[in-house]
């Protein structure tokens, strides 16, 4: 068998009925989940800053205790998935992740791993969402890999509404979000 990684292809515009039939997969934290509640609104934008209305966003994150697939926190689901709406928006209900081990055993700042799919994206783009003003950000090694003037594209910002955070994800254009080669 040919052991080369199979080629990626775009998701296409008509995936909703199969992958996001409802908004259930946007509720990652049940009532009994531990940790600080975060309602995370992600807006997906194109080169002109216009909303991408047929994208799909997936989140992957650790529990509040900083553990992926945390058996001690069964009401928390580390995986979330939503389609963007007519404004390019989707709203995840989750908790702030704890710190997980990073490179050389150092702890990483709290972050959420993001995959973005859309028609016109021949393969997913991968981003990370950090939380603005978290004291651990300054020493985070992955944030440190990004050019300093682009790091603010990786930060979700708290709004005046309690627990509500906003994150604009620019696929390209002057504010292009930092994407990773993983």
């Amino acid at each position: 068998m040919d052991l080369h990684h199979t080629a990626n292809q775009p998701i296409g515009p008509f995936y909703h009925f199969a992958l996001t039939p409802d908004n259930d997969a946007g509720i990652m934290a049940g009532p009994d989940a531990k940790g600080e509640r975060v309602d995370l609104a992600i807006r997906l934008l194109d080169a002109d800053g216009k909303p991408v209305t047929n994208g799909m966003i997936e989140l992957w994150q650790a529990s509040a205790a900083g553990i992926y697939n945390d058996p001690a926190d069964p009401a928390f689901h580390g995986f979330g998935r939503l389609a963007t709406d007519r404004e390019g928006l989707c709203l995840f209900h989750t908790v702030k992740p704890g710190q997980v081990a990073g490179l050389n055993g150092k702890l990483q700042a709290p972050h959420i791993n993001v995959s973005v799919y859309a028609p016109g994206l021949t393969k997913r783009v991968v981003a990370r969402i950090y939380f603005a003003d978290d004291p651990a950000n300054d020493s985070d090694q992955v944030l440190g890999l990004a050019p300093e003037d682009r790091r603010q594209t990786m930060l979700a910002r708290q709004t005046l509404e309690a627990g509500r955070w906003n994150f604009d994800l620019h696929l390209c254009g002057p504010c292009e979000t930092v994407f990773f080669d993983i």
């Binding site: 199979t6 296409g12 009925f17 580390g78 021949t122 390209c172």
Partner: protein, 233 residues
């Protein structure tokens, strides 16, 4: 040592001019090479209790049988070392035999089939094998350029064991004359095109029942950990 994982000889570029919607969506800044941490090495686990037998038989989701050519699709999901990837969620979606999706925004005038939904899901078995029964999808027009048609295809979404292995592609049919004119298929480098073509397989074909097509998939895995690979820092 940082080695790009982008593999431009085998993976499509983000920007591919003939596929027009890439122009306003393709990232232009260089991607940042990310050494793998727990965040990349872990991934969601899906329970088989969520998947029913009907999920992998797309011909049994309505009151009667859908129209079209009955077709078995089977394959193995492995990593780049050839290790089978068991318990991997495979999600598929497709048009009916006439080329129409059951989707509120698909409005081209081909008939819907009351007996066909066009989506399925299955977990790979202990050998990384998956199998589902469906009908052959049809071609459909799209707006990329005048008289543009998508060749018949089935969309595939797979998770694999980690965030790194997460993967979406489309499966086409070997010998389809429309492939040559489709910029979505053509954005894949020539040497990698055969890997997204399903092969007709007489061994999989069931007598007086359904044609068999084989479609194997290879997913990426995380880098070796430093302890497994002593010369890394």
């Amino acid at each position: 040592m940082q080695k790009s994982r982008l593999d431009p000889d085998n993976q499509p570029p983000y920007l591919y001019e003939p596929y027009h919607s890439t122009a306003k969506r393709a990232p232009r800044q260089p991607l940042i090479f990310l050494p793998h941490t727990l965040s990349e090495r872990t991934g969601p686990i899906f329970a088989d209790t969520l998947i029913t037998e009907a999920d992998r038989d797309l011909t049994r989701q309505g009151a009667g049988e859908p129209l079209g050519q009955r077709m078995i699709v089977e394959g193995r999901v492995v990593d780049e070392d050839g290790n089978p990837l068991p318990k991997t969620l495979v999600e598929v979606w497709q048009t009916n035999a006439a080329g129409r999706y059951r989707h509120e925004l698909d409005d081209w005038p081909a008939p819907l089939d009351p007996n066909f939904n066009g989506c399925g899901r299955v977990l790979t078995d202990e050998n990384g094998k998956y199998r589902f029964l469906t009908v052959k999808p049809g071609a459909y027009p799209w707006g990329n350029h005048p008289n543009a048609w998508r060749p018949a295809h089935i969309h595939f979404s797979l998770f694999g064991p980690s965030f790194v292995s997460r993967f979406i592609t489309q499966m086409y049919f070997e010998g389809d004359p429309m492939l040559e004119y489709d910029p979505v298929f053509q954005c894949v480098p020539d040497r990698a095109k055969h890997r997204i073509l399903a092969k007709f397989d007489l061994g999989l074909t069931e007598e007086r029942f359904a044609l068999g097509f084989r479609f194997d998939l290879v997913l990426r895995g995380p880098d070796a950990t430093p302890s497994e690979n002593g010369h890394e820092e």
